[in-house]
Symmetry: C2
Subunit: 143 residues, 2 copies
DNA sequence: TTGATTGCAAACGGTTTGCATGGGA
DNA sequence: TCCCATGCAAACCGTTTGCAATCAA
């Protein structure tokens, strides 16, 4: 099972650290745990306020940073703004050159990364593969 | 030989497109073609002005965007600001988790990327591997 | 000569901060 | 009750834009 942002785990973590669960935080986490589109913080802000007014931008940023620092949210740096990924299991990314959509690629789908002759000047702790190309939607639209 | 930002190539490209070479552009390109540290635009601005006052921030951004659009400069999106990479040959990146330093990894040093079972919903045009860990400097300092 | 490029300053968009009010444990 | 969290607005920082003056071709 993939490690995925989950409100139960967040509540446990909050209790352990003496932090509080508020309706705003719950709404943000509930939106993020189902988000498949790697939303920006602005998109989270708008979506949450559609369902649960009023949550301020500052609260969205606070909550997102809190989750990120706790390792429960991955940030993807793209042009313009940071995108959020509730999947914190090891995985890779596909970025569409046309529309900018970011898709998760399961870690197990790419195998045999042969690091054959890296000079030993760095200690490698993790790696991620960023694939770029055209997504299904753009490919069928462009013909 | 790696494809590397080079003032001769830029001059040729400028001539072909009817664009002008100015002292400011020359200074920016000369700095970038020797830069090994993946500078931010702000760092380019400061370095160029140390040697060649006065070049405005706007000019640095214009020139960088022009080179990027011509495919002669790669941008690396990291937290905070975009970093610039005069190496536009295929290569991978190593990012230090401690100091944030970005190092180039030769494309040929990592082989055998086995894409074994990608669903065929995307067309892959390129890929880049982002390695994360501790760089030599931070490793020896931290002991 | 002439249109691309420059410097400047203001605008812009994403993110952070300070502070008084409000609310969860 | 006691802090933590909230909303708001201003600040911040990287980047873009508008404009008049300038300069490479």
């Amino acid at each position: 099972m993939a490690k995925q942002l989950n409100i139960g785990t967040v509540e446990k973590m909050a209790r352990e650290r003496g932090l509080k669960m508020t309706p705003q935080r719950r709404a943000i986490i509930e939106y993020l745990q189902n988000a498949r589109e790697h939303p920006t913080t602005e998109e989270v802000f708008m979506a949450v306020n559609r369902d649960f007014p009023m949550t301020s931008r500052a609260t969205v940023y606070n909550t997102v940073n809190w989750l990120r620092d706790a390792g429960m949210l991955q940030e993807i740096y793209e042009a313009g703004a940071v995108r959020l990924d509730p999947n914190f299991d090891r995985h890779h990314h596909f970025i569409c050159n046309k529309c900018g959509r970011v898709e998760d690629i399961g870690f197990e789908l790419i195998s045999d990364l042969g690091i054959c002759s890296l000079p030993e000047s760095q200690t490698i702790e993790s790696f991620e593969i960023v694939l770029r190309g055209t997504c299904k939607k753009c490919r069928t639209q462009a013909g």
